[in-house]
Subunit: 413 residues, 2 copies
């Protein structure tokens, strides 16, 4: 089954927001073995919505459209789908009653224009609103067209409750499973070179490279009738790649450095704290992005100013005077401070220059990371590249990788 | 001039990454008055790249393609452009020499396959590599096709140095200017209702609504021959909208709550610190995303565990025992602790439940924010909605908005 995702909304084309809905939908469809072959985004323009829908239904069996289902006059996705499929719009009485009920229950007057959200292409099945906008899906020729709201969490809920079950039913039982082999601080081309012959020999799983934020990742993607068989296809190839990469490969089972580190900390029952200068809180924000971080993460001392490194983290003023805030010594002191202040087993730290201006005579990209594990402290210099945002991600990944190595080494006999 | 953006890379279609390049390119093109009408993403597939390029050149005068310019066998964007435009690929000797030189200067052996990055469609103008991948642009019929690497910072640099100057030259001098009026904690529909008649009467600037993260924003976009004339078109309409929204509208000049708060803190010469539970560092990360945050931001105490709130922030144990960590009292105490520990004028704090599970008997979406300004502390409850990530963004925006109001009120006579 081939699928495509269409985002509707002028805000996408003006660059006001990124099309993260297309990303989430694609991730979800991959898990049920549906191939997404196209993403498209168009503005709130009837002709272009119609063209996009017509093109999509001509070449794909599943079309998922997000956005343009609200009550305002520029919300015209339903009209576009109706035009592309040669249907008229029919008011759904149940949806209309729900919309009236929504306003009544809040004691608010409803403008008649709100009822346009109950106007669906003839023959469409409504999808109950998660927030205020209902969705729908409609079959056309050999394709099924889903229309979901653009608000990410409303879209997400409808995707899980309606789109995936309907598509799974129609697509048979094939699944796609992806596994990642991550390395930190090793270039993409060095990784590619090391495993080139394995890659060339492979068709299922397919192997792809992704690089960013100081991390090179090898992604293996297998297709099979069920998850167990997909895993069985991946397993020997992943093992061969890990064998080739040796110590450079991170522990399996997670697709990010944050994930690998979090899983390792949990597995070793280690409490973790951070002290951040360069990353400004990004390290803590990343560690707490997934639920349950409180199992192992206590907190972070974000010490952006030099004075805060002294006064809040308690970094020895002699270190700051002699070596400066951008130094391995400062990174080590911050890592120790994090562990000490939070009473944690592991302290992780970042300092450096994200740019674009230099600082204390250091060029942008001068990054030092530190890690402390039960009495032992290490720090290292990392070369950052790219823009400010990329530098910060490199710093957080490198700091977590340093701590990861220390945890792994400490548990070796 | 109509433009479209094509992202090439199977990782986009598998949902491994979001197409942030399309967002950045669209934002940049809007500033020079180029209308982006389509975004498309396709995988590393020759037939579909060719189809996408052919469709794009048939309906747009500028086509910007990102991704697929690397040295590996799945990097086939140049082939796709050559096929779509009926050209052959010709090796560019200067580019080839540079690639050889890159490896020689690092004392590394070069695989011959790396030279494919020097193979450009006949007649193309090379764009010098920012990292390792060169780009190029080529004219075809009435369109110009740009091919840029997928790595965001490499893409970004080429966009600024080559794409924008070339397109500005071709498109004449029209510019697009956008201004935002932000409100926090006011629903999008309430804002829309309050200014409906102004919106209906407007064509240039156009007016759009965007909502997310607890923020409703009105965007005014004007097109004119130059920036001054675009500003002159926006000014009276923005003034009318601000007049209508009154106190609910944030201070002008910035397009985010973080931006408005940062500008206000700088303007009042206030030093700022934070204490974060719910946001886990995201507040600090957001305040330090732009360069120069060290002007006003000292740091943040990320106290994720209850013990850290006591031991690191020094929150009175009686508050935690009586009211719990999810309480207005705790938010207030955290805000005071932030100001005290960092010696700052302003303390900003978040606590609450991001979910999906409940905590201490509080449902997800129970958010408390606190702010302290020179001896005065306030805290309020905010209702979060959406997923975990959205809850955290609502918390950080609401906390900064509370501090913003206190700063504004304190400077009134």
């Amino acid at each position: 089954m081939r699928a495509e995702v269409i985002g509707v909304g002028t805000e996408l084309l003006l660059g006001q927001i990124a099309n993260t809905n297309a990303k989430h939908i694609s991730t979800a469809l991959a898990t049920i073995g549906v191939d997404v072959l196209w993403h498209t985004a168009v503005g709130d323009n009837l002709g272009r919505i119609e063209e996009a829908v017509r093109t999509a239904t001509g070449r794909s069996e599943a079309v998922i459209i997000t956005g343009g289902l609200g009550p305002t006059s520029d919300d015209i996705t339903a009209e576009g789908v109706a035009a592309a499929t040669g249907r008229s719009l029919i008011r759904d009485d149940l949806l209309a009653a729900r919309i009236r009920g929504f306003f009544e229950s809040r004691g608010r007057a409803m403008a008649e224009s709100n009822l346009k959200q109950a106007d669906l292409p003839e023959g469409a099945t409504p999808i109950e609103a998660e927030g205020t906008a209902p969705g729908f899906y409609v079959e056309h020729d050999d394709a099924v067209i889903f229309c979901l709201p653009g608000v990410p969490w409303e879209m997400d809920a409808m995707l899980a409750k309606t789109v995936l079950p309907v598509l799974r039913e129609r697509s048979g039982d094939a699944v796609t499973v992806s596994r990642h082999v991550l390395t930190v601080g090793v270039g993409e081309s060095a990784v590619a070179h090391a495993i080139a012959d394995i890659v060339d020999a492979q068709t299922n799983p397919t192997i792809a490279f992704l690089a960013g934020g100081g991390v090179a990742r090898v992604r293996l993607t297998a297709k099979a009738p069920d998850e167990a068989r997909a895993e069985a296809l991946i397993q020997p190839v992943e093992a061969a790649i890990r064998d080739r990469l040796g110590d450079a490969a991170l522990e399996p089972g997670e697709d990010s450095v944050v994930g690998v580190f979090s899983s390792l900390a949990r597995g070793h029952n280690l409490k973790v704290a951070a002290a951040e200068s360069l990353t400004g809180g990004l390290l803590g924000a990343n560690l707490t992005e997934a639920e349950g971080a409180s199992d192992f993460f206590h907190g972070s001392l974000v010490c952006y100013s030099t004075e805060a490194k002294r006064a809040v983290a308690g970094v020895d003023p002699a270190i700051l005077d002699e070596h400066g805030a951008v130094s391995a010594e400062c990174a080590a002191a911050l890592a120790e401070a994090a562990a000490r202040r939070f009473g944690a087993d592991v302290g992780v730290a970042t300092t450096g220059v994200a740019g674009p201006a230099e600082q204390e005579g250091h060029a942008p990209g001068t990054i030092f990371v530190g890690a402390h594990l039960r009495g032992q402290t290490e720090a290292r210099r990392v070369q950052g590249y790219g823009n400010r945002s990329n530098m910060r991600v490199i710093a957080l990944n490198s700091a977590l990788d340093l701590a990861r190595r220390m945890i792994v080494d400490s548990s070796k006999p």
